[in-house]
Symmetry: C2
Subunit: 509 residues, 2 copies
């Protein structure tokens, strides 16, 4: 590499109007601002242009002379045709192990638990091993915190300088890049993808905002480069966001921000994808899909704490292919030929848990109520089909969510985002969204959902408030729910833990 | 200042289970993870705790011994009560010149032009002069580009090291901090505000995303600190965003991103404010308000290119106090006692221009059509009154925008943001929003609005499509509008400039 340092505006008129231009800030952009109207400036401009001796560089027709045309290299030695600058031309599929072999057994939904990202880590370990020169994981010192440490069984953290006496798992050829700078992680990964390889960036959800602007530019680049015929598609930029807003039990308010999704959704629909897998097997299926995809930005938000398993590998594959679907085992009296009284929808790990717990309460206490439970993994399904390639048709949306019945939607992020996605749907005014409304602190998991009215008890209250046939006739149950919230809050304040009645709940089957 | 560097986990058990802990990563967070269940770990924990000799530090009741209680300083010498750490207690109002004296004359709306931020710069120059120790302007090398260079008439750019031969306007005591790092600008300004002083940060609109995460944390800090009784309110954090999405004629797609507004709106409504003044006088009035406010984040988006003046200083003051209001001089047959056939609403400099040009076409071509023109300066007015302190009541909103008539809303930013703000309004399904939908490139101003269907001709087409009484009966006018778009695009492609018919348009009065 040759680095040449030149004066700013080198070879431009040294002075204009008696002021130094060459080598100063005045050479920025327009050194002769008055050339259009001022004869002196125009003369200086002409003199400047002539100083390059165009008569020696071009022939009569304006074509560069042969001596110049012979200079540039040809073929892939041209800078613009260097394969590394068109990484898609070098890109090869990853050798991916079958994710189903890494899935967890789910004898009954909502009873066994796993750390979803820990399970994903076992698969990523083998992705890393099988693709030793084409797959990297980036992490801002959060690989183990996000439970992906199994990758370190087959590689080390990339490290080129001295090792301390007690350092561990450092490796000059390491396939994990850990550096506590989200900017560096993002920049290195973008470069790696642009040069025709694959990777993922795992980050605390709140802190991925640090690279908002870099993400914006990468998404713009993908959108613009897709219009250039000779540019080949790149591997997608995959974000795995964990340590999310709902489980910052120790870190608190500074670590609670699910707003990266809002930033991502402003970019072109042909480029961006958002997934909210609710358990380990759906996370495996989702990430397998992401690592096979091309020229997207995939954002996956997943939990790292022990959380229920809901779907077997087969069911997870089907559910993720659908993107959004009914969980009939969790629904109640959602019979063919009759509309449900209410749709309980969830997108995200914690909202899914609370919706299921609410559905269980409703099934027990209002057994005649027809409740449809819908789970959304692929958030883009909510958009109209003419606004996003994954968007559901109005017919499919209205079939799933109904065109008329109240929908209580428990969402992982800021609640208005769901409105933004669904405002064109027939049933939009019937969709009532609960999500994170910037109410946070250092507290227990259930206290966090209560602070934002996303908890099971409040969801039951929402159902009572929104289903016309309930309302005043369910005042007693509604009051019980309000009391249950108060009891749970009091328990948290007294014990510093969630009430075991809440934290030991399992799906009743 | 004393800086002491200690080993990580200094004084914790040096080894646990035969592995070095003190001075290594194992001392992070929980050095004895098994202390609850493992007797050996628990014994090590007890030995560790006893190593601090608690019997010498506390008396029988658990109270620190008098020798310790005598150590801490008292009053404002306590770290927590140092006034600089509670900057609001030191905060004094700025000495602000009357902004009206800096306003421009507006003999007729939409005929004379000014660079709005240049006009603001004359006022900020005198704000800077009058408050030489309590007001700073931060800019990432964009002060002059954003047209605030008049401030440099009374101060220089802060600079502490060597000066080059051709450097200008550098000053050890400078009141302008220019450094090409949005992070540093933001960080220095936050520190300045936290220690009880005032300031503003001017930035290219697209690149303020660089500090999304820092903004998030500052907003969270303001929200949380407002709950602490002894903390006094700070001066607001004021952003002046210019060089915005619609006027990146030379820079293009990388510089086109109005999405900071979406990030800001995720934060607590008690903290955030967004203003979109359409001309010079409304910008002056808005910024005067911002510099008087406390404990907010104010985001002001304004133009720097020559743009029409619409409101006199008196009218600007009234309009900004209202936040959103009818421009009766631009409306047509919006008579008392009759609903308008359509509401044309605008928020932002360029949308206001296009809405007025559309209103002029409608007035000329469909003189019987009742058209109400509404301008929104204070974006929070669109929110319900129970969601934001500035929110309009439903009654006021329905009076202004009607509860039944079609609303064509031309918006500065991403169009879905207006839906997010208005989805609870009675007329929400009647609100049709045009805005930036991530269609950008390096092109002329009018080509940019055409790319995003925000241009005057498309707005007229939207009116024809949405007003039931028009539609097929106006097919001829609709076709003329489509043709006008094609003509304008062709002209741009041929001449590299906008069609003078468009660019020299003025309000017909």
């Amino acid at each position: 590499m040759i680095i040449m340092r030149t004066p700013k505006g080198w070879t431009c008129p040294p002075q204009v109007d008696g002021q130094q231009v060459e080598g100063t800030f005045r050479a920025h952009q327009v050194p002769l601002p008055a050339a259009r109207t001022d004869g002196t400036h125009r003369a200086v401009l002409e003199q400047w242009m002539r100083s390059y001796r165009p008569e020696e560089l071009f022939d009569e027709s304006g074509r560069p002379v042969p001596e110049l045309l012979d200079l540039p290299p040809t073929g892939t030695r041209r800078m613009s045709d260097n394969p590394v600058a068109n990484g898609g031309s070098l890109l090869r599929d990853l050798d991916l192990p079958d994710w189903r072999a890494y899935g967890v057994d789910v004898p009954n939904p909502g009873t066994t638990s796993h750390e979803a990202t820990k399970v994903l880590g076992t698969w990523l370990r083998d992705v890393t091993r099988r693709n030793p020169s084409t797959y990297l994981t980036m992490a801002p010192d959060e690989l183990a915190s996000n439970r992906l440490q199994d990758i370190l069984d087959v590689t080390g953290r990339k490290w080129q300088v001295e090792e301390g006496r007690f350092d561990e798992r450092l490796d000059r050829q390491g396939r994990v890049v850990e550096v506590l700078s989200e900017h560096i992680c993002e920049g290195l990964l973008e470069g790696y993808l642009l040069s025709g390889r694959h990777g993922a960036f795992t980050c605390y959800e709140a802190f991925i905002h640090i690279v908002d602007s870099m993400f914006n530019q990468h998404a713009k680049w993908l959108q613009a480069s897709a219009q250039v015929a000779w540019r080949r598609p790149l591997a997608s930029l995959n974000y795995l966001l964990s340590s999310h807003v709902w489980r910052q039990d120790h870190n608190g308010f500074t670590h609670q921000d699910p707003g990266f999704l809002d930033v991502v959704l402003n970019k072109d629909p042909s480029i961006v994808r958002i997934y909210l897998p609710p358990d380990a097997n759906t996370l495996l299926s989702t990430f397998d899909h992401c690592l096979r995809s091309r020229h997207y930005v995939n954002v996956v938000v997943a939990g790292k704490q022990p959380q229920f398993d809901y779907l077997s590998v087969e069911d997870a594959a089907l559910h993720c292919a659908r993107g959004a679907g009914i969980w009939d085992w969790a629904s109640n009296r959602d019979d063919t030929g009759t509309l449900p009284d209410v749709v309980l929808a969830a997108a995200g790990e914690i909202p899914t848990l609370e919706v299921l717990a609410a559905a269980a309460i409703l099934r027990e206490r209002l057994p005649d109520l027809r409740v449809r439970v819908v789970n959304v993994v692929d958030l883009m399904r909510l958009l109209p089909e003419d606004e996003h390639p994954h968007g559901l048709s109005d017919r499919d949306f209205d079939t799933l969510f109904t065109a008329t019945q109240p929908v209580i939607f428990a969402f992982h992020g800021y609640p208005w985002l769901v409105h933004r996605l669904t405002y064109r749907r027939a049933n939009h005014s019937g969709i009532h969204v609960r999500g994170y409304k910037e109410r946070g602190t250092t507290t227990t998991p259930f206290d966090m959902v209560m602070l934002n009215d996303l908890d099971r008890f409040h969801l039951v209250m929402d159902v009572i408030d929104r289903v016309p046939a309930l309302g005043a006739s369910c005042a007693g149950l509604r009051q019980e729910m309000a009391d249950a919230r108060l009891r749970a809050r009091t328990y948290t304040r007294e014990h510093g833990l969630d009430d075991p009645e809440v934290s030991s709940w399992t799906w009743p089957g």
